[in-house]
Amino acid sequence: MDEGLRSELSKQGIFTTTLEDLYNWGRKNSIWPLGFGLACCAIEMIAASMARYDLARFGAEVFRPSPRQADLMIVAGTVTKKMAPQVVRLYNQMPEPKYVIAMGACAISGGPFKQGYNVLKGIDRYIPVDVHIPGCPPRPEALIHAFMTLQRKIDEQSLTGAKRPRHLVAEAPSEFPVPEFGEHDLEPPNNPAVWQPPTLVRAE
């Protein structure tokens, strides 16, 4: 729609919008997170949802106790290898469209435990992550920033065309394989469809 005409119409008291804008506006202002925490980052997440930081301003105060009612998974804390299959299973149980915020150094990379034997080196090995927040733990402001980043991301999603989001592509996966407990490590150690180990390329 022509921007000039739109502006002219709004001066006459006629407001126009597109279905896409309306749909995304509704979605981005009612992101319900799944209420679960794994470590100390969860305390910051709880603080963000309380009165001082007031996550309710973003329509995200309803932490859902069931994955079936949640739109957003905040992976708040250290994901141990023993916990990782349960986190992936919870993600699989969430209905589309669903989003993931990896909160804190542990959830994005393993953090201080990266060189250990029992901590997953980032939840993005098994599920797609939309926003990564560094910090140990990140302050509530950082979580709010991640929320606003996610809102912007949702707002920019176009509902048609080749760049439409995953939940509108029929053949795109909604569930991801749950890793199994192996004799020495999780099997598989990562999901190659979601994540590949980094490679070093030297510029000549």
Binding site: K82, Q115, Y117, E183, P198, L200, R202
Partner: protein, 211 residues
């Protein structure tokens, strides 16, 4: 408690708390005594942990008198002998009633392989239950007489004992921006031509990391 062996192990460190090495056959009876004796009343096991001692070669120097060319001389002789490895469980005991402690108790396994067994002291100190399970999980020490000996931190299918010194962790090294010490060794093993090996000048031109 006849025939029980209790050995005092001195501690040379600044803390200097000695410990008692107890034999497995009488450990339970000794533990009961330590808890019940009115002058001891060690009713609280605050900490149970494990120690892994690998096989070691010990050198011992001895002065031997020998006759060399008709003259008797004192010659220093070094003998080497193998000391088999073992696993150790350490209990820190306190008395809540008499407000004293700690008393440190050690139990040793016969070896690190098929006979890594000690007596469980959970029947005496109930609080030792989970900590003994942890020592079983991470060191592979079997506690005989434990009511519920299962893995507690790692999953049931896990076969290794991660706190043993010869544990080989899964080879899942990933790029690390500032590697050092043993992480640097891993870096060089996985990325032989990583940025660390590049001379400073060519590094300044730009080593690019892409993921």
């Amino acid at each position: 408690m006849q025939g029980a062996t209790v050995e005092m192990v001195p501690n040379g460190s600044p803390g200097g708390v000695p410990s008692l090495l107890v034999d497995n056959a009488h450990a339970l009876a000794i533990a009961k005594f330590l808890r019940e004796d009115p002058s001891l009343r060690l009713d609280y096991a605050s900490n149970v942990t494990g120690v892994d001692w690998l096989d070691a070669v010990v050198q011992e120097k001895q002065k031997v008198k020998q006759v060399v060319e008709g003259v008797e001389r004192e010659i220093e002789q070094t003998t080497e002998f193998k000391k088999p490895g073992y696993l150790e469980v350490v209990y820190h005991l306190y008395s809540m009633e008499l407000k004293h402690g700690p008393l440190i108790l050690r139990l040793r396994t016969a070896n690190r392989g098929d006979n890594a067994r000690v007596a469980s002291l959970t029947p005496v100190w109930r609080g030792a239950e989970f900590q003994e399970r942890e020592a079983y999980d991470l060191f592979g020490i079997t506690f005989e007489g434990h009511p519920d000996l299962r893995r507690i931190l790692m999953w049931e299918e896990f076969k290794d004992f991660p706190m043993r010194k010869d544990y080989v962790e899964p080879d899942d090294y990933e790029y690390e921006p500032t590697p050092h010490d043993d992480v640097l060794e891993k870096t060089q093993r996985h990325y032989p031509t990583s940025l660390q090996d590049v001379p400073r000048e060519s590094n300044a031109k730009g080593g690019v990391v892409s993921s």
